[in-house]
Each structure stands twice: as structure tokens, then as C-alpha cells.
Symmetry: C2
Subunit: 347 residues, 2 copies
């Protein structure tokens, strides 16, 4: 019995082990992903992102509790912290979560820290999400700490993206919002019992008005895709991101937020956007895999000694980086074993 | 006369035009970069990063003014906002800056917003920095908004990285610090006239103590390199990141901070770390160029129709992403024109 089939059978320990293999991008992990892949595509993927200090983790916990208790859904939480190569922050978050969610077999929480590169982290997150999807979790929440491009990219994995704000977080939060607003399906003003909540909500509204919904673009790693190119929205099928106030520490607004999430899922299915987002998501994943594969093949083909010599020439400013790439791509003056030199010269 | 030679001759208008070409990664831009490359390697590159709300922009302005007026250095500022596909936030920042720095021919400010992909932005930033370096700017400051992995990567371009904190920015800032602290050469507690400054400084100190300097790693895109692997630090040559309080709106602590920057530059030169950071930086750039080149060659080789068919199979779960990559990499059952299919089968 493979690890993957144990996971499909509901074995929680096998799931934990498989997640580690998938995170480490081991050969076993890749084989398991291939085996699980036909079972994916059923979970509702929900991205939750926003600036530090907005109380995202607490909000995610409350939502997870709601989905469990009110809707009887199985819920996985993937907490991603791209800025930390350690799991320190994430582990702390897990402990806080344990109190409410521990011992519930219908909940699985996984923290992910940086795997050395951002691309690697996005890829590992996509794989972990696939495993949860195949394992039968109805809802997979992907929570990202921070508010940079990395978070936007990772949130791009989701069907529904929730962007969390909070009152009084300082001036240049404003600058950050523009990019994040583009990916928001639902806006949350958390800590809504704080002073300044009206200001925060008003500025979100005016920014939403600026971004006309028909021109909204759907951003992913390295690509900007207009939803309308994928599938033109049908009449009356335009989704305007609603703004929901919450006080996650008290559970206020959580039921309403869960309602909006369900409404968005229904909208995606009716409008055809669910399918177009799925396709875009899988294309991005494919693209990343192609990049990695090309690079590792390239590395196998260039001897370390030759590479070091070229770098030395660049360091001494005898060769520009672009010239170095040309030399590395066409290493042999005669035809290479793969015939690459040949095809290049004949251009 | 080429654009590049005009830039080397000090033509400010040519510089602005070349920066645009380089940002757009045009063929002219690439040719100019190759022409300018032998003239690079002289500027001191200073990265300034930190969470939103810490007052980075104002701090960067004050530092720039100091370098101009006290040290008579030519200063370029590259303001990078990876979260915004628009230049809104950046342009606002420029206007604020104009008041103090406008009309000074020894200062050049360039704002950069996202170019569609994070890798693209890091690459464009590296190129823009090279242009300023070749154009004779003594100091190039690279300012990043936000605190995610993207900012860490872009800050990795610098010789000296300044991480800016401020009191009272909320709880999960703490979690973010761990990753950022690793890349800090100098820590700044800005807005030091605010309550809570002692707490902020204390927590920074305790985190610094945890990260023993001899084990500090030097992080770049996709790679983690130990400084000691590059060049073992000589005895007494270990740099322990100092903490400097500033109130940038009043200019408090700016002279002291500029002094620390100069001290760090001297340390880098004496310890040999300047050379090892240069090498690491150029290797990262080379790596990114190789990736891009491999990907564009691959795209040229696969017909859009075939690519779309494969994606369709993945969407229908008939093919896993990994299987799709295999098919795309070996498109022909017989030997391909480049002989790739051949070499793959013979493995």
C-alpha cells in the first residue's frame, strides 16, 4: 500500500508524512502527487492575506471553527510565512490554534516556512494544497503573513481570496493596498471595534470604486491574465468585492463572512469563473515546474569548473552577465552531444 | 554616439531614457547594459527594507540629503514596490521627495513598480542599479516597501542592508523579524520618539543574541550561502549589526546612521566580504538570466496548440502536472531537431 493510497483512505499519520515528503520535493513525494492528482479539484481553496497586525491568524481560526461546527466541513489550514526561514513564528501560531482546534479529526493545520526560494515556497504550497484536496478536505485555507508580491502570488492559488485590513496600521499601508485589492474577492475590516474603522472602510470603498470590476485582472506568478480573456463574465455575473467588518477575537461577523465565502463559491460556479481559475492555477503550476526542470537539466549539463571560470570572468568585468549566459548556453565550439551548438550556429 | 556612452558622459536625460529601456528589458537596453558593465562595481549599494509604517521613505530621504551635503556623494534612490502593479504609491512618494531633493543634479530618484512577475522585478532592479553604478553614482539606495521574501531578495542586491523598525506596529511584526534580521547589517529603530521604543529595541537585541553572528547566513534568491563558505571571516572581523535610533522626520540620528554605513563599508573591504558579496550578487543575477533564457527558448520550441492541449488534459485530470512537463520536454516520439529526445531516451 502506497503512502498516497493510505492518505486517500483517511490515514492522518500517512498524511503528515506525505506532506513532509511533498514539502521536501522528494521523488516519493512527486510520485504520490501524481497518484493523488486525479482525486484533486474538489476542495474550495480560500486564500487569506493582509498586512501584519491585522489579526489574520485569529480570523482564520474563527472561520475554520465556523466551517467545522455550522457546516460540518473538513478544514485544512496552510499557514505560509515566506519571510521566515525558521518555523518560529509559525510554530507559535500553531500553539495558539491548538487550544480551539486540537483533537478535532476534521481539522488539519500545516505551517510552511521558506524553502530557500520564493518560487520553491509557492510550489511547495501548491503541492501541499493538492494533497489536502485529494485527502478529502472540503475547505483548504491558505494563510499568508505579510503583504508583498509573494503573498499575492500564493493567494493566487485560491478560488476565493480574502484580504484582511484593520484600522490604524499606519500610512504606507495605503500604498500596499492597490496591489492587494486587485486580488480581493472579499474584504474584511478586522478589529472593527477599534477607533478609525470608518476611515479604513471608507478608503477601501473609494479604492474599490477606482478599480472598475469589469477591468479586474487576475494575477498570477509571472503572468497577468484578464478574467475576461479566459471566460467573459455573463450578464449580471460580475462580482463586486463586499466589505465585511469582524472582531475575530470575539467571533463578531464570522458567520456573515462565512456566508459571503459560500456566496462567492456559488458565483464562481455559476459564472464559469471556477473553471477559468482552475485552469489559470494549473497553468501557473505547470509553468513553474517547467522552469525548475529546465534549470536542473541545464545544471547537469555544465561542469562546475566551467561555471566557476565564467563567474570569475564576470566578477572581473571581463564578461557581462548576458555574454556569460551566451557562453554557458553554447558551451562547445563544435556540435555538443545534444546538438545544441549546431542549431544555434545555424540560426 | 550610443545611449550608454551618453550616460557615461553624464547626460541626465539619456540616463532617464536608458533606465526605461532597461526596465522594459528591450534589446537596446540589453546592449547598453553590456556596454556599461565594465564600468560597474564602484558604487556602494545600500538596501533599506522593513515593514509598512516604519517611515522608510523619509529615512531614505534624510540619508540621501546627508550623503549629498556632508559627504558630497552622488546618490541614486531606487524605490521598489513589488505589491503594486501601478506606480500610484511610488509616484506619491516621489512628490514628497521632490521638496527636499528636487533640482539637485547629484541626486536621481527612480520608482519601480511590479513588472508582472517578482523575478522580473528583481531582475529589472538589478539592471537599474547597474546603470546608476556605471553612471558614476557613488551611493545607490534600494528601498523596498513591505517585509516579505520579495523584499529580502531585492535587499540581497546590496552591500549593506539596513532594516528599519518602529515602535508599536502590532504583534505579528515579531514573526516577520526573524527572516529580515538575518539580512540586516544595520538595524534602525525609527520614530524613536514614540512610546514603546525601549521594547522594540530590547526585542531586536534579544533576537540578535539568538542569531549568533558566526552562523549568520547570506541569503539570496533561491540560494542560501554561508559567508564562511565564500570567504572565512578573519579574526576580529565579525560584524555584529548595531542598532541605531532615529527620528527621520526631525533628522535625529541620521549622521550617526551615515557613520555606521561608512563603517560597514570599511568592514566589508577589510574582511574581504565586499568581494564575496559582489560575487554572490553576480551569481544570482547570472542564475536569473539563465532561467529566463531557458524558458524563452522552451516557449519558442513548443507550439501554442500543443501546449493548450496538454493544459486541457491537466485541467481534466487526465495528466498530472509532472507528467505534462515530461510530455512537453520530449515532444517528439522520434529524435527532435535538437536531438533532445534522443539523449533523453538513452539515459
Amino acid at each position: 500500500m502506497t503512502l498516497a493510497s493510505s492518505v486517500l483512505g483517511g490515514d492522518r499519520l500517512a498524511l503528515a508524512r506525505l506532506l513532509t515528503q511533498v514539502e521536501n520535493d522528494s521523488l516519493e513525494g512527486r510520485a504520490a502527487l501524481a497518484e493523488l492528482f486525479p482525486h484533486t479539484g474538489r476542495a474550495h481553496l480560500i486564500g487569506v492575506t493582509g498586512a501584519p497586525g491585522t489579526g489574520k491568524s485569529s480570523l482564520v481560526n474563527q472561520l475554520a471553527l465556523h466551517f467545522r461546527r455550522q457546516d460540518d466541513k473538513r478544514v485544512a489550514i496552510v499557514a505560509v510565512d515566506p519571510s521566515s526561514p525558521f518555523t518560529g513564528g509559525a510554530v507559535l501560531g500553531d500553539r495558539v490554534r491548538m487550544r480551539d482546534l486540537a483533537g478535532d479529526a476534521g481539522v488539519f493545520i500545516r505551517s510552511m516556512a521558506s524553502r530557500g526560494s520564493l518560487g520553491g515556497l509557492a510550489q511547495a504550497t501548491a503541492s501541499v494544497v493538492q494533497v489536502f484536496d485529494a485527502a478529502g478536505y472540503d475547505i483548504v485555507m491558505i494563510e499568508t503573513v505579510g503583504a508583498g508580491q509573494s503573498e499575492v502570488d500564493i493567494a493566487g492559488l485560491a478560488h476565493t481570496t480574502i484580504v484582511v485590513e484593520a484600522p490604524g496600521l499606519g500610512d504606507d499601508i495605503q500604498a500596499i493596498k492597490a496591489g492587494i485589492l486587485e486580488i480581493a474577492d472579499i474584504l474584511v475590516v478586522n478589529k472593527a471595534d477599534r477607533p478609525g474603522v470608518e476611515n479604513t472602510e471608507r478608503s477601501l470603498k473609494s479604492m474599490l470604486d477606482l478599480a472598475h470590476p469589469s477591468q479586474r485582472v487576475f494575477r498570477h506568478h509571472g503572468q497577468i491574465m484578464s478574467d475576461s480573456v479566459q471566460a467573459a463574465p455573463r450578464d449580471g455575473m460580475i462580482w463586486i468585492p463586499p466589505i465585511q467588518r469582524t472582531v475575530s477575537t470575539e467571533g463578531t461577523g464570522i458567520a456573515e463572512l462565512a456566508g459571503l465565502v459560500a456566496k462567492h463559491a456559488a458565483h464562481l460556479r455559476q459564472s464559469g469563473d471556477w473553471a477559468s481559475r482552475e485552469r489559470a492555477r494549473l497553468e501557473v503550476e505547470l509553468d513553474a515546474l517547467i522552469r525548475e526542470t529546465l534549470m536542473s537539466r541545464f545544471r547537469e549539463g555544465v561542469p562546475q569548473k566551467q561555471y566557476d571560470e565564467i563567474v570569475e570572468k564576470v566578477v572581473k568585468r571581463n564578461l557581462s552577465p548576458w555574454e556569460a549566459v551566451k557562453v554557458l548556453m553554447n558551451p562547445h565550439p563544435g556540435p555538443s552531444p545534444r546538438g545544441r551548438g549546431e542549431s544555434e550556429r545555424s540560426k
